[in-house]
Amino acid sequence: MTSPLMSIRGLEKKFDLSGSLLEQLQFEGGRLRRKQEAVHALNGVDLEVHKGEALCVVGESGCGKSTVARTVMGLLSPTAGEIHYDGERIDHLSGKQVLPYRRKMQMIFQNPYASLNPRMTIQQTLEEPIRFHHPDWKTDRVKAKVQDVMQSVGIDADWGSRFGHEFSGGQRQRIAIARALAVDPEFIVADEPISALDVSIQAQVLNLMMEAQEQRGLTYLFITHDLAVVEHFGTRVAVMYLGRVCELADTRTLFSNPRHPYTQALLSAIPKLEDDRPNHIRLQGEVPTPVNLPSGCVFHGRCPYANERCRTEVPALITTDGGTQVACHAVEENRL
């Protein structure tokens, strides 16, 4: 196997809740104590994205999917861990050093109604990144590139003088994709790019992204909570729960043979037309708060197979004989 295009190692991200030093000080039992609290959004995420694949990250709300995307793109700085792109570490680079990677890595956002600057025309929106990354290009070349990229996402090249609010959600998302493609990236992080769109438009945008992947040899890190999309789009799938990856497998393997108890519950919750299946797995309780993480396996409180070891020891990702990577003691011990 070739070396991965993007590799994330032991990524952690905490969001501080306790505020400034003065706000942290509290009286407890007559003594002044400093109390710090943080949301543990990511707790040691390891992921590798290979060239040309579409790695889908799924999980429920608040599991840290978007935090992974934003940390990878440098919008958030990681608390711990490393991010490598094409063998080079990029998470500690600053300002000018990171510029070459900005061109290679682009992002598509969730909300197409907020991701276009309302005061800029489409032409300006698309021209600015090209001019910025190719300051030596002549105006003709920039304009030709904009026309080219607009055509490739199915936007009429004559619409350049319009503003973002004159378009529908699907068209805006096409423009946002065009903006990302304008600098000819190799790697695209898509943070729930279709969840704000009409169902009828979702497929169009998804197909557009797959076309672009074929034509340009793109690599995707695709964040979503829609399992149907994963089945259609993903090469491999990573399932996240409470800031950790609990299962990572080829799409087909994951859907046919889920190993982790959480993945099993997640997949059984997909509504199907046939009504003769047994009821879906009902998990007990709620997702624990990411402020006070459970000890051991983050899933143990809701897992029907949890034992003493799960409560104390954090499971590592292990590779099973099927090629699936699972972080579960029960799978490791062949209890499951």
Partner: protein, 310 residues
């Protein structure tokens, strides 16, 4: 494609802005009055019958002539003359010019300072935000007039009356501009805080654009609506502040009177029956400030994002 050729003017004519302006009679009337006052102030040297700055055209024998229609009026001075024999109409035209220059100049300075500090505080946040906003708080805890009086008095004492007369207009712009910048800075900061969370800012960051480029090219244009509203009101405030300072004798000198110093110079004669020297510039000042405030009110209604999202 017909839409491809839509010009800025067409876009403006189809906008909600123009639509609501056409339907608001108060706004139209205010705008016409303001426009005519601004135009007559700009073209005062062409419109005014005499030049009140030119001592050779002033005859002390013409002093305190009443406006046309009263006993002892002179046809040459339709609004009468002041205590020095200057034609009131010309002096008011030139005075409006001075007042408007100070109003616009001071707000321009406020806007430059306020936008810069507001953007920095809102976008960078953290310590920069704390420091800049505390400075703004301290600044706001002084009354504008008090600061202006102290600074004005110090300048007047150190430069002498003659020199002060020459630089008075810049001094007033500077004092009023510096004293009121926190108003705009706070407004800008508030809208920057709202804007910087939107995804188009993230998209710009992901593109690798620098902080300055994101602040001025991406965020600033989206915070302009509230700036316009507050700047309009601030022009009226600046004109009033200037008039108050001039009335207290710390503003424009008698030789280059603004509306405020005209009111003051007439105030000494109001008991002796020459009420027009104070009353007419006073009315002009009231009308000027009123129409600006009415326009500001209308602008606020149009640009209020709760009433209208654009």
């Amino acid at each position: 494609m017909t839409t491809a050729t839509v010009s800025r003017w067409d876009r403006f004519r189809e906008s909600f802005f123009w639509y609501s302006f056409k339907r608001d009679k108060v706004a139209i009337a205010s705008f016409i009055v303001l426009l005519s006052m601004v135009l007559s102030a700009i073209f005062a040297p062409l419109l005014a019958p005499t030049d009140p700055y030119d001592l050779a055209q002033i005859n002390i024998m013409n002093s305190e002539l009443p406006p046309v229609g009263m006993n002892g009026a002179d046809e040459a001075f339709p609004l009468g003359t002041d205590a020095q024999g200057r034609d009131m109409l010309s002096t008011i035209l030139y005075g409006t010019r001075v007042s408007l220059m100070i109003g616009f100049g001071a707000v321009l300075l406020q806007a430059v300072l306020g936008i810069l500090f507001g953007l920095l505080a809102g976008y960078l946040g953290g310590k920069v935000d704390s420091v800049l906003m505390r400075i703004a708080d301290v600044q706001l805890s002084f009354s504008t007039l008090m600061v202006a009086i102290i600074v004005g008095a110090v300048f007047k004492a150190s430069f002498g009356n003659l020199m002060f007369g020459e630089i008075a207009i810049y001094m007033l712009i500077f004092i009023i501009g510096v004293a009121e910048w926190p108003q705009i800075a706070r407004t800008v900061r508030a809208s920057v805080l709202a804007e910087k969370k939107k995804e188009y800012v993230d998209a710009a960051k992901v593109m690798g654009f620098g902080t300055g480029r994101i602040m001025f090219r991406h965020i600033l244009p989206n915070t302009l609506s509230p700036i316009f509203v507050i700047a309009t009101v601030q022009i009226a405030n600046a004109i009033i502040s200037e008039a108050a300072l001039s009335f207290l004798g710390l503003g424009m000198p008698e030789t280059q009177p603004s509306l405020g110093s005209l009111i003051k110079s007439g105030f000494d004669y109001i008991q002796s029956g020459s009420w027009w020297i104070t009353l007419i510039p006073g009315l002009v000042l009231v009308v000027l400030v009123l129409v600006i405030n009415l326009l500001g009110d209308w602008l606020r209604d149009v640009m209020n994002p709760r009433l209208y999202k654009g």
